[in-house]
Amino acid sequence: MTESNTSAPAEAPEYRKRGHSKTPLIITIAVIAVAAIVAALVFWLGRDRDSTAGGGGNGAGKELVVGLQLEPSNLDIRATGGVALDQILIDNVYQGLIGLKSGTVDEFVPVLAEELPEQSDDGLTYTFTMREGVSFASGNKLTAADVVDSLSAAEGPASLSTALGAPVTVTSPDERTVMLELSAPNSQLLWQLANRPGLVFETAYTGDLASTSNGTGPFALKQWKQGDSITFAANPEYWGEKPAVETVVWRYIPDANAATNAALEGDLDVLAPVTSNMVSQFEGTDFAIEHADSTDVFTLAFNSQKAPLNDVRVRTALSMAIDGNSIVEAFYGDGKVLGGPITDLEPAYEDLTSVNAYDPEAAKALLAEAGYAEGLELTATIPSFYASDAINQVVTQFDAIGVKLNVNPVEFGTWLSDVYSAPEDGSPRQYDLSYVNHAEANDFVNYTNPDYYFGYNNPEVQDLYAQSIATTDPEQAVELVQQAARIVAAEAPAKWLINYTPANAVAKHVQGFPNSNTNSRINLAGVSVS
């Protein structure tokens, strides 16, 4: 603005006049001023609103906001796989005749049945008496026919027959009685009934369960904002005691930093789980860190169908190269060392940590014996959303016995097609190692199925497991699985790196949040906000 007119020669007046035009300057100043005012408004007025409209449950009293990681892709639990659905829908929205006592995976409780079933001596017939006065969220009464139809489903992830691997005949002799008839005894029946295959749906319901809900549980779906949150509201038709919270918001935040920030900014009442390396940020805050027991097993699978991993000596050597304690450290203490495929929440657990225990020298000797004295090069295919600390630890420890492990992080969809599914032409799978969290409880069956992605095939294990399924004596069933698990642990189709015990951050004003198995099932009964 330091214009000087003195040196200007004689000129036409209109040029001079235009030369002094201040319009652009005024516009610029106006734009900046408006921007500054808007910014000031946003900063000032908005700050007060955070506590009320910002979303947290603190102000709302009866609202609970839970931060989770993995969002379901479709809410139809009959047709869509994945533990993300079980986690929020079972117990809270959909129920079965029986369920699991909160915090356990082997204690059954009656839910839509009045009590646990009467079982015939030959283990072939189970008789349930249905609870009275149960309605679906649609307002219609639950009938025996609904139970028969639900349990008779022939296909899909919720099919009881598929889950049991044998057909089940379901009938209802009268309006309050449901009978299940098996062709052979099955010690897994109650377990399956207490899980997804046992859920009961209304046959006459015509709504789309992919984006709505219609269950008998204490909550019903209110809103699904894809990519952000799922909201439950109390189900006015619920037959049991009304839940203490009226609204539950499940907020899905895949980014670990953002999830932690959301909790610390007061937008969440619970974060399940906190990523291991961020737990320390919750020290001295309004959150308590609770380690939940779980059936999550981070499984480093060895492809038993592909050389050199089809050689049990190589698999054993790789198992012995890994120090379980260092893996627990890589998880910042959020886990327990594991020696076999079964966790301590499950009835068939035994401490197998002495099997193939850490011994790099013996591992080297075994590798040499198998003909790999000069070492080996292998590739681990892992879904990219896992933290890399643990797998890096494995890379280092394999390196110490002369095994070079390349890590190939892929999207989960790619993992499913490259590792999990069998090639269509029937040829063996081509992956070497895989690293995933097996969250499901009671999944020992995977080690008895040679077509599963482990490719592990031991007829003795399969026979023991089949016997345990067929027995009617629960104790014998457990013993048989334990025998089979010992063999599996020794033959190492996988290294069970850690039994993950996720750290959940629970705000101090939340009471009764479950602290067991929250990665696969969060039962909100008994949760309250003060």
Binding site: S73, G81, P157, D255, G413
Partner: protein
Amino acid sequence: MIRFLAVRALTLLAGLFLASLIIFISLRLLPGDVAQVIGGTSASPAQVEAIRERLGLNVPLPLQYLDWLGGVFTGQLGSSVVSGTSIAAEIAEKAQVTVPLTFYSLTIALIVALPLGVFAAYRRQALPSRVLSVLGVVAAAVPAVWAGLLGIVLFSTWLGWLPSQGFPRDAWADPLTAIRSLTLPALTIGLIEGAVLFRFVKSATLSAIGAEHVRTAMSRGYTRLGALVRHGLPGVGLSVVSMLGLQVAGLLVGAVVIEQLFSLPGLGRMLVVDVGQRDLIKVQSTLFVLTAVILALGALVDVVHRMIDPRLRVEEQ
């Protein structure tokens, strides 16, 4: 002018067609299978095959393409094979985050770049201008994720002024809360894109200052600033308008990264999730809508350019 419009419309249509082909083919190169994702780890191979059959994934690819293209050009985007919800409704809902975010970022970029760019060119020897130019180069090179994290640490963790993540569940019901939640992401994208724009404005202004018609204006008595404002900047404005068409594409790409970082339920985050789930029909429809918006903006810029630039009209005659 009518002839120009007709030609421009035809190239736009050809561009859209080509884009649809490129999008469709490139997505088919991805490994993975949506049927497997839907079935998850509990489905048997037979169940997965049944899902594949039900979704029509066994239909030959050219037929799948024509089917999709026909839907797109008749305005039927269909529904997601994974979630079952309407794709058009999903895009509309997510656009409520991404479109305001894009405009907010663009506004910030313009507010930063225009005055500073002109200033840095007008007083290019002064120390502040040199500092600005160095800062511009640095800021334009900063990865958005890193800048975003820095912003979170500064404005959320230390100062506690702005939320570092999330968007209100009731969207724009409370506009102030919505704007606040978009402020930090918009600043991140806006400053980076603003730095790119700043360098552009600066060099455009520099050449305007040296241009003959501006010097002529000065010789007729305008001051240096007066000549620049009156005769130089309109030309700069024109180039900025054509640059903005490209800028919007950059802003949308930035949104993919930034929405993930700030956990905003917008188009970018939706795309990342859908690609992960191999919901290819939804991904290709979303990408196509985005491409169409950008191409249409490009066409609009051309038309506007034509209207405000007298030289182009002269050439036509």
